[in-house]
């Protein structure tokens, strides 16, 4: 499908990223441009300052990851966090909580922690975020296995173009603890966030047009980065971010379902 035949664009105005050894978008951008080499290093624990102290201490790994990239995306973005719609995308949600609950349920007295239970919902990071920033608009949480980033991008893009709402996409997945780790072997925690606006503006980094397409997914040339891309569903964003880092307008095919990609037509800078 040509860009002209694709529906209206959304406008990407801010990007955030975190993975072990790639602690923010500027660091990732340098590596994606080939100006430095990625070395995985332990990820320091993020303190979500927007949460009250008692919740900050108890925040789960998924909440920390989501808040980390959401914070970075909104730093200097020139938008009010409480006015944004939000889309949170994760294939697996919080498997540490799921494992604790399933372990507790395996034996009498089968007592589930009430906090674990309300934190086990897939939209827990979305809920904590809306409370922390006072955002009363639409908020959603999606999952589509290894296509979860593309599914989240699709919904965020649609919120921007169909509802005309500035929308924050937050995509993350974190490794599971044993014994689920053996069934879902992610090595690295990864998070990324994109701020999509319905109209062009002075902060526009690129415009995006999206459409589903039966095609093979775009891969990365660098073997280490390609291994990271296939390790974590949130890292499936990397081919898009790599073109963005290089200022290279291109068509990128992100895996969405086993049969289908999401074709993203990336036009760097403001559209002509």
């Amino acid at each position: 499908m040509t860009a002209a035949a694709m529906p209206a664009p959304s406008f990407l105005t801010s990007v955030a990223w975190v993975a072990p050894g790639l602690l923010d978008w500027p660091a990732a951008r340098t590596v994606l441009r080939g100006e430095s080499v990625w070395t995985a290093a332990e990820l320091p624990t993020f303190q979500p300052e927007r949460l009250p102290p008692n919740e900050r201490r108890r925040a789960s790994a998924t909440v920390r990851m989501a808040f980390r990239v959401a914070d970075e995306a909104l730093r200097d973005a020139g938008v009010a966090a409480d006015e944004l719609a939000t889309v949170f995308a994760s294939a697996d949600g919080d498997l540490a909580i799921a494992a604790r609950i399933c372990t507790a349920l395996a034996q009498p007295p089968r007592q589930v922690s009430p906090t674990d239970f309300h934190n086990s919902v897939h939209n827990a990071p979305a809920g904590y975020w809306s409370i922390a920033v006072g955002a009363t608009g639409p908020s959603t949480a999606v999952a589509a296995g290894d296509g979860s980033f593309a599914a989240g991008l699709l919904e965020a893009h649609l919120m921007a173009v169909a509802e005309r709402r500035p929308t924050l996409l937050v995509a993350y997945d974190v490794p599971a603890p044993a014994p689920l780790q053996a069934k879902r072997p992610l090595r690295h925690a990864v998070g990324t966030a994109l701020l999509l606006l319905p109209q062009d503006g002075p902060r526009t980094l690129a415009s995006l047009r999206c459409a589903p397409l039966a095609s093979t997914e775009t891969v990365l040339d660098d073997a280490a980065l390609e291994a990271l891309r296939t390790d974590n569903p949130a890292a499936r964003a990397l081919p898009l971010l790599q073109r963005l880092a290089c200022g290279h307008s291109d068509a990128i095919d992100l895996p969405l379902t086993p049969d289908l990609s999401l074709r993203v037509q990336l036009q760097c800078g403001s559209p002509p």
Partner: protein, 395 residues
């Protein structure tokens, strides 16, 4: 929004399999809630259990086999739904029909059983446990797409108890942007120990069948259900539609993870957004299917919200006394129940509600009424303060 046709719909719950079983139970005021135990759970409560989930999935879907996906498959086989989708597939192509499914726990019960089989705390999970095809939330939409032989966009929305209302909104956006030509939307959630024991830990489960809006309400009854609908653009629908999607509203409470805003702020915003989306006034709404879970806080907050938007002139009721709270399936099954009621001009009472809470101002029906339903709202509110309201039109 541009109105959409609901070309087909089907539902399966403790009331039975398919539309006629639900219509009959609604008119007979027969609840599906029973004082049953699920699996090894010993919680004293009523549940809404679906019958005939014992058969494994057919060979082509076998990887997905688990209680949740069996329930989805059972529901998809009712009311000629498979045939409706086959006609759409022939018309638009398998790649142009999206699948948007709401679920809160997907096949987590399989994980519960797998953890129980471990002999020691450091033991591996059994080989038979297939995380990707059962517990993973994305499997809810992936399985429905596979079952219906569809190859378009497929994603799961998991926003707790608003999940399968929100899929109608997501699908509407995808249709309006031309990313698909038709959409299968729906919700499925099945009984599991996680939700039974989780809601019990929060002290939100009542020992008796749930009594929405009753002065003596004590909590929810958990049920399981699956419901599906086909959304099409009006110009693409040959026959008479089964109903219409005229609007939707989405909002966040931004208040608390597991308690509603006491004034129903987010719930009111959701209903107002649905009216705005449809371009309709308060007076055009003939019936509201409440979220109405039967907990003290939820029902009180929703009553405040309904009164703030509608005053006390709009008739409303909760159907959870029939089905129980079906969690991620609630949005879709209550949309389908509302369409059944609209087709019959039947406004159901709030089953099990004996004495209306004297603090309530909304017009909660304590007896069924016969009246035309041209436009109706269906409310779904979830943990995290996640709210969605659908505005449905009669066929």
């Amino acid at each position: 929004m541009t109105p959409l046709h609901i070309a087909a719909f089907t539902l399966t719950s403790a009331l039975g399999h398919g539309r006629e079983a639900h219509r009959a139970a609604l008119h007979a005021e027969r609840s599906g809630l029973r004082p049953a135990a699920f699996d090894l759970s010993q919680i004293e409560c009523f549940i809404g259990e679906v019958e005939r989930l014992d058969s494994p999935l057919p060979a082509r879907l076998r990887a997905f086999d688990c209680r949740n996906h069996r329930l989805a498959w059972l529901a998809l086989q009712q009311d000629g739904f498979l045939e409706s989708v086959a006609r759409l597939r022939a018309r638009h192509g398998a790649g142009r029909i999206g699948v948007f499914i709401g679920s809160t726990t997907a096949g987590i019960h399989s994980a519960e059983l797998a953890f129980r089989e471990r002999v020691a705390s450091d033991a591996a999970l059994p080989d038979w446990f297939d995380y990707r095809h059962t517990q993973a939330l994305g499997s809810a939409a992936e399985m429905v797409a596979a079952a219906l032989e569809l190859q378009g966009i497929a994603l799961t929305v998991s926003t707790a108890c608003s999940s399968s209302a929100k899929v109608f909104a997501t699908a509407s956006r995808a249709l309006s942007a031309g990313l698909c030509d038709a959409a299968v939307v729906g919700g499925v959630d099945s009984l599991c120990l996680t939700t039974l024991h989780g809601f019990n830990a929060l002290q939100l489960i009542g020992a008796e069948p749930c009594r929405p809006a009753d002065a003596a309400r004590r909590g929810i009854s958990i049920g399981e259900a699956a419901a599906f609908a086909v959304l099409t653009r009006p110009q693409d629908d040959d026959g008479a539609p089964a109903g219409r999607l005229l609007g939707y509203g989405e909002s966040s409470d931004a208040h608390h993870m597991s308690a509603p805003h006491p004034e129903g702020r987010g719930a009111a915003a959701s209903m107002r957004a649905a009216l705005r989306s449809a371009g309709l006034e308060v007076a055009a709404i003939d019936y509201i299917n409440l979220h109405g879970t039967g907990t003290p806080a939820n029902d009180a907050a929703e009553d405040r919200a309904v009164c703030a938007v509608f005053g006390s002139g709009t008739r409303c009721s909760s159907t959870k006394g029939w089905t129980g709270h079906t969690l991620g399936a609630a949005g879709a099954i209550e949309a389908c129940l509302t369409l059944l009621c609209a087709a019959d001009g039947y406004l159901p009472r709030s089953l099990n509600t004996r004495t209306l809470d004297p603090a309530f101002g909304a017009q909660v029906l304590l007896a069924a009424q016969r009246a035309p339903i041209r436009h109706a709202l269906s409310n779904s509110f979830g943990f995290g303060g996640n709210n969605c309201t659908l505005l449905l039109g009669a066929a």
